[in-house]
């Protein structure tokens, strides 16, 4: 509300978000692509959030213009989707919307099978010539796995076409009858669920789940992040680490004793010491990790002073880590255009690697370093 006019203005999302967050002791990110429920959970006993609170947060982020028309709908009484348990000989496949079945996919699922994991297959149920058919349109591989695992009953979430017929549901004119209409719904829903509206599990989410289940490599990598002052994050915020996949690759690099994470840790420590607030910058810490490893392989010892003097030189010359890696890549490309290289680098990590060696040799030069493939 304006101080001067006392009028309430148009919907302002940031104002609404701020207002909503006032009721929480620990604020959290509310963005279009992610409401940070992990941080939000810290406001609740046992870290368990009522769905109603998440629903309110969603409404605020999307705003009133994107809110659907208000209605009340009891799907159990008013809808045609229901749950039931079925016997094996009641279940069918209609290849109109399931064009094949993949034995190797079933075998893959089997390798990771657990009776607590299957989701409920989706189907349409319709009576034709006095036979009740339950056609699975989603989860037909899973249901075959259940059979192979000795299940005697099968959970099914089904669209009750018989009930639709009984209620005289109007069939759009492009369909011959209600069964055609139901098949169309099943096919459309299958594409909706499995393709169009599928939200892929991001590397960050996968990492956080693996951390929750105490996967040893993930826990170890996370310990390194914490020890060097970083935390895995979805977005590049202060002290955040967002490059999960690249991090896993560099973490896996071993030294002569087979120890993982050594170069990863030193590279992150280098960045934190040099740029304490900045999020981890991929093309700074990754080429540094490669440099530490190459030095060890070739027998060059890099003392702590090396990290200090290189860091200070980079700050003096280029500033923040993003500007630094951009400038280092530019140095590489300038040299490429001016002098040409017999074997140009094909990846940024190696372009920056070569540029780091070049800058250190030309501007500091206290220690010897490996010879860069592209020298300038």
């Amino acid at each position: 509300m304006s101080k001067t006019t006392g009028k309430v203005g148009a919907y302002n999302r940031q104002t609404e978000i701020k207002q909503f967050l006032k009721k929480f002791e620990k604020p959290f990110d509310m963005k279009d692509d992610a409401i940070d429920t992990r941080t939000m959970a810290e406001n609740y006993p046992h870290g368990i959030i009522p769905l109603e609170d998440i629903s309110q947060a969603i409404d605020i982020v999307l705003g009133p213009n994107k809110r659907p028309e208000v209605r009340t709908f009891d799907p159990e009484l008013q809808g045609y989707l229901h749950f039931d348990w079925y016997l094996w000989d009641q279940l069918y496949l209609w290849p109109r919307f399931q064009r094949d079945v993949a034995p190797n996919h079933i075998f893959k699922i089997e390798g990771d099978w657990d009776d607590t994991c299957p989701i409920v297959p989706c189907a349409i149920r319709v009576t034709i010539d006095d036979v009740v058919y339950v056609f699975i349109w989603d989860g037909h591989h899973t249901v075959q796995n259940m059979k192979r695992q000795g299940y005697t009953k099968f959970p099914v979430w089904f669209l009750d076409v018989d009930k639709m017929i009984e209620d005289g549901v109007e069939v759009p004119e492009e369909f011959d009858d209600i069964v055609e209409f139901a098949v169309n719904k099943a096919g459309t829903n299958m594409v909706r669920i499995n393709s169009r509206n599928k939200r892929k599990l991001s590397a960050y989410d996968e990492f956080m789940i693996l951390l929750e289940v105490k996967d040893s490599a993930t826990v170890s990598m996370n310990n390194i992040l914490n020890a060097t002052g970083y935390a895995p994050k979805r977005h590049p915020v202060e002290g955040g680490f967002t490059q999960i996949k690249s991090g896993q690759t560099i973490f896996e690099m071993t030294d002569d004793y087979g120890t993982k994470g050594k170069y990863f840790k030193r590279a992150l420590a280098f960045q934190k010491r040099t740029w304490p607030m900045a999020p981890a910058e991929l093309e700074v810490w990754r080429p540094m990790a490669l440099l530490y490893k190459q030095c060890e392989i070739e027998g060059f010892t890099l003392d702590e002073q090396f990290d200090i003097e290189l860091g200070e030189k980079l700050v003096e010359l280029y500033g923040d880590p993003s500007s630094t890696q951009e400038a280092l890549k530019e140095l590489y490309y300038d040299a490429l255009h001016e002098q040409g290289f017999t074997e140009p680098r094909i990846h940024d990590q190696w372009r920056v690697y070569d540029a780091l060696i070049s800058v250190y040799k030309n501007k500091v030069g206290r220690l010897d370093l490996p010879t860069a493939q592209c020298r300038f």
Partner: protein, 132 residues
């Protein structure tokens, strides 16, 4: 060379008791043009468009600090509605503290100019810009 600037809402600047604290954080390589755009909305008799706080640096550092600040100040930046974008509501002191901490913590190569900049003293920036 580019500039990072903080421009305080002229109403709040003149009458902090009557108006909400708000400012814009922006960057420009052509301060004379940007000041001209701001001046368009007000008579020069009542208000001279001014950058209240200014930092100068190379294009890369200025572009990157803007990106960082937009992320950090996200919760305070109004986004909805034409012309609302970039306005930050809340304490000016908080915004300046955030900028100074960010410059220090990210080690941005930018230099504070140390005085307000308007069209009247633009030559002090020595950016080689054409004021005409």
């Amino acid at each position: 060379m580019k500039l990072l600037y903080v421009k305080i809402c002229p109403f709040y600047k003149k009458h902090p008791d009557l108006y909400e604290p708000a400012c814009k954080v922006g960057i420009t390589g052509h301060p004379e043009v940007r000041l001209g755009v701001y001046q368009n909305s007000y008579s020069h008799l009542n208000h001279t468009a001014t950058f209240d706080y200014v930092w100068a640096g190379d294009t890369r550092n200025i572009n990157n600090i803007e990106k960082t600040l937009k992320t950090q100040l996200d919760m305070s930046i109004e986004k909805d509605g034409r012309g609302h974008s970039e306005w930050i509501t809340g304490s000016i002191g908080m915004v300046l503290e955030q900028i100074n901490d960010t410059i220090e913590g990210y080690r941005y190569n930018v230099t504070p100019i140390g005085e307000e900049i308007s069209i009247d003293n633009l030559d002090k920036l020595n950016l080689g810009v054409d004021k005409t």
